[in-house]
Subunit: 238 residues, 2 copies
Amino acid sequence: MITGPVDIHWAPGVVVSKSQFAYEQLHGRIVSGALAPGARLVLAQVATELGVSVVPVREAVRRLEAEGLVTFEKNVGATVSGIDPVEYLYTMQTLSLVEGAATALSARSVTAQELAAAREINGRMRAMLEEFPQHFDPVEFTRLNHDFHSVLFEHCPNPHILDLVHRGWNRLTALRGSTFSFVPERAGESVAEHERLLDLIEHGAPVADIELAARRHRSATLDAYLARTAAHPDFPTL
Amino acid sequence: MITGPVDIHWAPGVVVSKSQFAYEQLHGRIVSGALAPGARLVLAQVATELGVSVVPVREAVRRLEAEGLVTFEKNVGATVSGIDPVEYLYTMQTLSLVEGAATALSARSVTAQELAAAREINGRMRAMLEEFPQHFDPVEFTRLNHDFHSVLFEHCPNPHILDLVHRGWNRLTALRGSTFSFVPERAGESVAEHERLLDLIEHGAPVADIELAARRHRSATLDAYLARTAAHPDFPTL
DNA sequence: TATACGAAGATCGTATACGATCGACTATGG
DNA sequence: CCATAGTCGATCGTATACGATCTTCGTATA
């Protein structure tokens, strides 16, 4: 048996530890949906599958726990996190906050090409609604939605805020599936709001306006969700 | 030698694992300043001191790394994080964002007693400035400042946001020391801004106004810091 | 039948062992 | 004297071993 680090060679010259390898494997499978919420992660079993020992796996699982993708219970084990309505509310509200900020902080750095790319993506989203309204695919629509917003916040110069945005998106897409499967009525409004957001950015609107627009855009989706479930109507909002 | 979990009995009925124990020990020593930025954390050495083996210590260190209190370099080791001007900027900006939100979300839940307590704390801060201006103690002033703000954001109903606020404060106080040692000129303005913030909350001002006031209060301190260092004058702000 | 008790299996938490890696120091050649 | 290659010690990364704990399931008893 091989012992020691045995660094897996990733790209030429790049080596990753086994715990990093285990983390990336599990993270990928959770975010991609291959590991669905509720799936149990038995350390020894995962270790065997990945061809490493339990120690790196354990470390990977703890990292995933810190990101909210996995729930770890003492002396019991790890499962891929579920996300109940309350957790959904918390996560969406937090994402609304940090994504609004990231979008505003990025606004001045978005290039004309990127703006055009975002418009093109939004055009495809609109086309999905107008041309094939009877075959609306919420999964694909949600994916495009992610790509659209990525363009707008990826230039965020504050890596802490950007990291929080990524974590929020990961949690939502991995644990909740496609947003627009839950609130399809938001699809049309989203496309229109995207257009307004692009205009604000293009015309160099005050960053405060951009932040508010991006924030509202997301919290409106949360409101639509809450209206459906009628849960926590008195939860304070911003 | 004792092996196995050996759960330390904390309070009656409460048991914590050794990795939790190690985490709490290290976290406490870092936040309290007993372990200063730059201090090396040699796993085997820490393990001996705490009376556990290296595995739980390693896990604790990784948790601290995720919180930004420790820097862990592959195959080299862990050190208590320093915080350079750029990191300070990132952290303050993020804290400005989440603390503003947490304060606004808490505003409606703050009781009259708590409001009075906050006023009392702010009164002591004012007294420090007015009565003994020649013996201004920035450390004590910073502590009171923390207590003041804690009252205003601790009711935040969104635990994710509240957690981010705590992490931000921890990072700043542990790694940077007392804020008002760096920008003593902000002390007087802070007391005045606190008063305005309390008034807004007491009179039930719109949460958006409260959020903005709380956010500005913090970002003004950041601005004062940046004015001193003259670093990154073009960094985008909210 | 329902409940309480207890034993067995699965799984976790931790200790220990050891190869792998990095940084510093030393030696050697230019 | 400086640069470069080689060696050594300190420390990390991972594998393995094993006691501790939780859950489950069967059995006895009211």
